[in-house]
């Protein structure tokens, strides 16, 4: 899933300052999973902003609505019925959601309430960790299901470097050395000899693309 965290409240207040009628738009997918922009969080943020406005003696209307998935056009289109009531949308979607809404309603100012962060997993309740950089050419098989591009701080494909300490990365003693993990995992499968070969330089053009990457599937089109 894509993870995000709510922006500091002062930053949000500053961005919404010019507007009086706001639609706070939540998303029921990734950002709900990481407790940043789901229905509950949208209600909390709206309530907080309304209270802040009242304290300031400011006129402010905020309504809340949550769509299943903010990055899908078909889920956003129904907002057409209500969007005219508002002079801005405060989106609690990830960057994809914010922009998808902006694309459908280009005349409505849209404000991001979240900072989108990474593709990751819910490793434990209340704990999300990055595990994929979207390189476009997955090499997880070669490394026992542990991605060195994401989890090695230096993206080494022929690791480890000399900096690890007690199995932890030099940059942070809380971060496990990905190569330590890879070696342990491959040892379990008796596949350690896989690491004897020199892994060739990565084709980064599959991650960078020519402009924003896209996927087109004609079999999926109307």
């Amino acid at each position: 899933m894509i993870t995000a965290e709510q922006k500091p409240i002062d930053e949000i207040r500053e961005m919404i300052a010019p507007y009086k009628r706001i639609l706070a738009l939540g998303c029921g997918s990734c950002v709900a999973e990481c407790a940043a922009g789901g229905e509950k969080e949208t209600a909390m943020l709206a309530s907080t902003l309304r209270m802040a406005a009242k304290i300031d003696g400011r006129d402010l209307l905020i309504h809340e609505k949550t769509v299943d998935r903010q990055c899908v056009k078909d889920f956003i289109l129904p907002l057409d019925d209500i969007i005219d009531q508002y002079d801005a949308v405060l989106s609690l979607g990830c960057g994809a959601g914010v922009q998808a809404v902006a694309e459908i309603f280009p005349d409505v100012p849209i404000i991001p309430a979240l900072n989108t962060e990474f593709i990751g997993e819910t490793r434990d309740q209340g704990y999300w960790v990055e595990n994929c950089v979207g390189c476009g050419d997955c090499v997880l098989y070669d490394f026992g299901g542990i991605c060195p591009l994401t989890r090695c701080s230096k993206r080494l494909l022929n690791g480890p470097c000399g900096g690890s300490r007690d199995g932890k990365c030099e940059v942070d003693p809380e971060v496990p050395c990905a190569w330590q993990l890879i070696i342990e995992r491959l040892s379990k499968f008796n596949a350690l000899d896989r690491l004897e070969k020199i892994y060739q330089p990565k084709d980064w053009s599959m991650k960078q693309g020519l402009g924003p990457r896209n996927i087109i599937r004609e079999d999926q089109q109307r």
């Binding site: 701080s153 230096k154 993206r155 080494l156 494909l157 022929n158 690791g159 480890p160 470097c161 000399g162 900096g163 690890s164 300490r165 007690d166 199995g167 030099e170 940059v171 050395c177 330590q180 070696i183 690491l195 004897e196 020199i198 892994y199 060739q200 330089p201 990565k202 980064w204």
Partner: protein, 307 residues
């Protein structure tokens, strides 16, 4: 031709030392260090923005050393440059007469004074070694396009016998050799037992015959330095007896003890089969190099004629 290569090819013990460029644009800083090291080492490593701290570029500093009549080892980290820039610098280095290059990963950018920068890491150090070897021996850039003139470079890599996971280290060494490393400089040695263990593993795999291993040594300046390095710097193993020895020395004699330990270490390292030389990293203490090399019986160094 590389002086370092010449000496190693002859089968003699080689000595290299390290020179850190200044945090500024003054070439005098390099020339001063050059004079302290002239005649004390066969080749002089110039570090590349070590600890991710902005310094005069290694390439430029090596160029200055060439003009001063010395044989530099260009250190290159993959943290700051993509494969276009790396290959470009290799061509430029060779054009300037630099004949040795050391390929490293580099300390992570978060350690230095520009932590907000993007770490490049387009290639890793082993891929980079391969690229340099391809340029030198096949006369092409990565991907096969021919060069008008191949670079002439003696290729080096770093080995850390003290890093985790210990069992995997010889595999990594083998990979570096297969990628094209001609010489290895190790992280500084204090724990001789552990170092011997690593050398044994390397020897068993036949690696000591395939590559020139230079053991790294660093003189301790003080007991505080020893304790700091043990605690904070990854991949350095200082046995407690050495720390004790430094602590028990009065402060004004600690430098002397540090040099003694260094000389003793070199003497022991000389006994280990497969050691082809020493890499003396006297950080901000280049004056000590001469004394260490002298007392270790490694002077005079063979004369260097640039060609």
């Amino acid at each position: 031709m590389s002086q370092l290569k010449k000496i190693l090819d002859k089968g003699d013990l080689a000595v290299t030392a390290e020179c850190g460029p200044p945090k500024g644009a003054d070439p005098e800083a390099i020339f001063k260090k050059a004079e302290l090291l002239r005649g004390k080492a066969d080749a002089i490593n110039v570090t590349d923005n070590q600890t991710a701290t902005v310094r005069m570029s290694s390439l430029a500093a090596c160029g200055l050393l060439i003009s001063a009549g010395l044989d530099p080892v260009l250190q290159v980290v993959v943290r700051d440059r993509n494969r276009i820039a790396l290959q470009s610098d290799i061509l430029g280095a060779s054009a300037m007469g630099i004949r040795n290059v050391l390929c490293l990963s580099g300390d992570h950018q978060s350690f230095g004074n520009q932590p907000q920068t993007m770490g490049v890491f387009d290639l890793d150090s082993i891929q980079f070694i391969q690229v340099v070897k391809t340029m030198r021996d096949e006369g092409t850039i990565w991907g096969g396009e021919p060069l008008t003139k191949s670079p002439e470079l003696f290729i080096g890599a770093v080995a850390n016998p003290f890093a985790d996971p210990l069992g995997f280290r010889p595999v990594r060494l083998a990979k570096k050799i297969r990628a094209g490393a001609d010489f290895i400089q190790t992280q500084c040695v204090y724990n001789l037992d552990r170092f011997e263990e690593w050398m044994n593993m390397a020897r068993e795999r036949g690696l000591t015959e395939q590559v020139n291993i230079l053991a790294g040594v660093t003189p301790l300046k003080s007991s505080n330095m020893a304790k700091y390095m043990k605690k904070r710097v990854s991949g350095i193993d200082i046995p407690d007896e050495l720390i004790k020895r430094m602590e028990e020395t009065p402060k004004n004699r600690q430098r002397e003890t540090g040099i003694n330990i260094c000389v003793e270490t070199i003497q022991r390292l000389k006994e280990i089969q497969g050691i082809r030389g020493f890499h003396i990293m006297a950080i901000e203490w280049e004056e000590a190099v001469g004394e260490i090399v002298g007392r270790a019986g490694l002077l005079p160094r063979p004369s260097f004629d640039q060609d």
